[in-house]
Structures are given as C-alpha cells and as structure tokens.
Symmetry: C2
Subunit: 229 residues, 2 copies
DNA sequence: CTAAAAATATGATATTTATCAGTAAATGGT
DNA sequence: ACCATTTACTGATAAATATCATATTTTTAG
C-alpha cells in the first residue's frame, strides 16, 4: 500500500522496467496491493480480467482444468512475473487459473494503464513481446518434453527445475514445497504414479524427503535420467 | 519475385498489415522469394536466423527433435503465417525446425526490416504481440491436451483440426495430406499406434481413407470422442 | 516398366502408466 | 491435545501405449 512502483525492485524483473517515469507514476496511483492465502485463487480460468497481477511475493500455479477433472499446471510464477498479461492483450477471458501455492502478495494493475502504454510506448510493447516470446519458447519445450519423455524423466526434470528456479533451503530441501498432487499436475501424471516415482528415486538415492519436503541428493544422476541414460 | 508486399493479399492475415506504406516498401525492396520443395527445410532447430519467412503457399511443420530421435510437431503453419518471428525477437537461435509438408513459396524478410519497425511502430509491435499471445494460448492448450487426453482422443482432435484449418478437397478428403509418421508426430505417439487408431476409426466408420488420404465421415462421433464420451 | 526403397499395416508382446482399494501419516480446527 | 479430514503411501490389477517382427502396399529412381 505504502510502496510506490517507482521504487519497487520487483519491477526490474519484468516488462514494467521499460515504462517511463510518468507511466509508472500512473500505474502506481491506480494499483492496489492484495494478499492471497495459500490455496486461494488470484483469478480463475474463463474470467474476464480487468487488469494484470504483478507478483511481489510467493508463488502461483497457472493451471487449466481438463475434462477428466485433473488440473494441468502449465507454469509456476514467482516474484516479478506479471499474470494475466496474455489475456489483457488479446482481450479474451483467461485461459488459465492462477492459484497461490504459497501465501502471496500481488499488485493489481488496472488494464488501462497497460493497454495505454502498449499503444504509445514501443519500448514497453517490445519488452512485453520479448517476455511473451520467451514464454512461448518454454511452452514449446514443455510440449516436446511431455510427449517424448517418460513420466520418470519428467519427474527428474521437474525436481531440477524446482531447484534451479526456486533454490534450496538451509537444510538442502527444495525451497518451493509442492504437494504430491501439484507435482503430478506439473508433470502431467496420476498422483499415485508421482508418489511411486518419488519412492523409487528415494530408494535409488537420487532424492531425500522429509514430510512433503524433497531434497536433491544426486543431481548428476537426475540429469542423466532426463537425458535418457 | 515480381510481386510487391504492398499488393500482397497474404499480408492481411499477419502482423505485416500494421506496417505503414513506407515500412512495407522497405520490406518489399529487401525481401526475396524462395520456393521450397516438399520435405526440404526452411530452417533447422538451432540455426541463427537472419530474418523471418512469410508463407505465401504450402504448409510447413514446426517441429523439434527429442533425445529419442522422434520429432514432435508443435504447429502447422500455412498461408500468411510468419515463421522465425520468435527467434528474431528474442535474438536467439531457433527452437524449432520448419520443414515443408507441401511444395512451398515463402518470402524471406531480413530481420532489420522487422526489428527497426518493432522499435518505431507501436501498432506493428502490438500486432505482433497479439499474434504471439494467440500462439501462446494455443501452446498452453496443446500442453493440457497432450497430458490429459488419450492418444485416441488426440487423434480424433487432430483430424478435426486438420479439417477446420485446411479444409477438404472435392472428394471429401482432408485437403492437407500428412504421412502417418507426421500425424503421429503431431499427436505425440508412436507411428504404429497412430496407424492402428486410423484402422480402428475406419472400422468404426468415423473416417475413410484412400492411400494416405483421410476423410472425415462422422464428425459428431469424433467430437464426442474428443470430449471423452 | 521394374526393382529397390519407403511407407503402411497388423500381430504378438513388453512396458509404462492409470485406476482402484485400502492403510498410514500428517495437518488443521477447536 | 484430540478428532476429523486431508494427504501420502503401497499393492494389485487393468488399461493404454510402445516396441519388435514381419507382411503388404505404395512410391520412387533408373
């Protein structure tokens, strides 16, 4: 509430850094900060969004419900990511739900601030475009992975991904703790299968666990597994 | 060769329509037209691109090779689509190969014409952004489909997709004829599995075939299958 | 037109993965 | 701290899919 976008360090991580001082001032004046509790939605699939959400703290899962009642998690978004951008740009309702995996703090920015700037500041538009291009590349990679790798390989990859993107805590566990169900929804498999593979990895000494926390024990072997050795 | 972008009707389908007359003139002066034979690449995964390719005729598959030697086709691009845009925008080498499925005619546009316009014409940038946003949505949908639907459902979906996007010929066959292998690479399954399902669909009266041509016979049942009935 | 190569097709089988059933452990609310 | 509820885990089994082998058809090159 008190803090101004102009001073917000989070900005450096996303396309808002390409805004001019004046544009940023407007954004700051119109934004509102929200806290979202673990498990609560920021928005849900099919909703019309009146703005975007800039993540200040915590992690959100972007997922889509399929006909059989299972969620597929398409992306995990954390500090600095802007949610709902795609939807605001295409003026369509959202394709994905955004649900808090952690307790979160996000800034809601009304869409006018964004769309106005998109029409007048090519640097900003280009910056948004670059981010979108990056997301598209990642999405393409996910498609190839899901269809060409086994569940075991994708599980290994998921753990390495979590390590690279969210780091580890003091005890060597992955800093982002997901439920087994969330893990299975990232990987695109049945929850029981995910659990089974976790047990197997544990037996083989690739990972160690404590409650729902998971730690990586043998990074090299996990990497080899991803590559198919 | 003789034709000018200013007069090119293809332009209406892609982001080039947001260019000014002068910008288009520059593009037209710098572009070169190429013909690509069926099976030949326009560019290959990992290449650095010096420009983008605007499809005038024919269809290209955008695919990525996975560790196990199988291609995954991420998208089929036809008339009006601009290939290599993502790569030029992010200034990275291409993530995907583009291979002609048909005999093709494409216009190569050097990247300078594009990047210059991106920096100066916000309408153009916004238009590109909208296209990219659309592609990203489609990619997300593919992710959900691949991980949550059975091979059979995805096969049914693929046929309907081909019908919707490329139409049918006079005899009621899908206008775009893909090899069984290409079909399996779109769907993300083994070629034998794809063939088996084609046989099954044929027996059930959902489709009919003649050589490698496939025609849709019972659209309603295919749709129901996709939905999981 | 014909031989060779490639693509399509089908059967048998192995492997992977999902589903169902049930138990154990962890978590949250009062 | 205790009960209720959710989450994690394990086994048995079924279903989906891949793989291997091989036959047939189609396409291509000469």
């Amino acid at each position: 509430m008190e803090s101004r976008c102009e001073n917000c360090i989070i900005r450096q991580f996303n396309s808002l850094r390409a805004m001019s001082k004046e544009e940023l001032k407007k954004v700051s004046d119109s934004k509102t900060t929200k806290t979202i509790k673990k498990g609560e939605p920021i928005f849900e699939e099919g909703e019309k969004l009146n703005g975007v959400y800039c993540v200040r703290n915590g992690v959100s899962k972007l997922s889509k419900l399929s006909a059989n009642g299972k969620d597929q998690i398409v992306k995990l978004a954390s500090k600095g990511e802007v949610l709902g951008q795609r939807s605001v740009i295409s003026q369509e309702s959202t394709n994905l739900s955004a649900i808090a995996v952690d307790d979160m703090e996000v800034c809601f920015i009304p869409k006018e601030s964004i769309t106005n700037t998109l029409q007048t500041n090519p640097n900003f538009t280009l910056e948004v475009l670059r981010h979108m291009a990056h997301d598209l590349k990642e999405a393409d990679d996910v498609i190839v992975n899901i269809s060409q790798k086994t569940v075991k390989q994708r599980m290994a990859e998921a753990f390495l991904y979590l390590q690279n993107n969210f780091g580890e805590d003091a005890d060597g566990f992955l800093a982002l703790t997901l439920s087994r169900e969330d893990i299975s929804n990232v990987v695109g498999t049945a929850t029981e299968s995910a659990i089974r593979i976790i047990s197997e990895f544990k037996k083989k000494g690739l990972i160690h666990t404590s409650g729902k926390k998971i730690g990586i024990k043998d990074e090299r072997k996990l990497l080899e597994m991803v590559e198919g050795f």
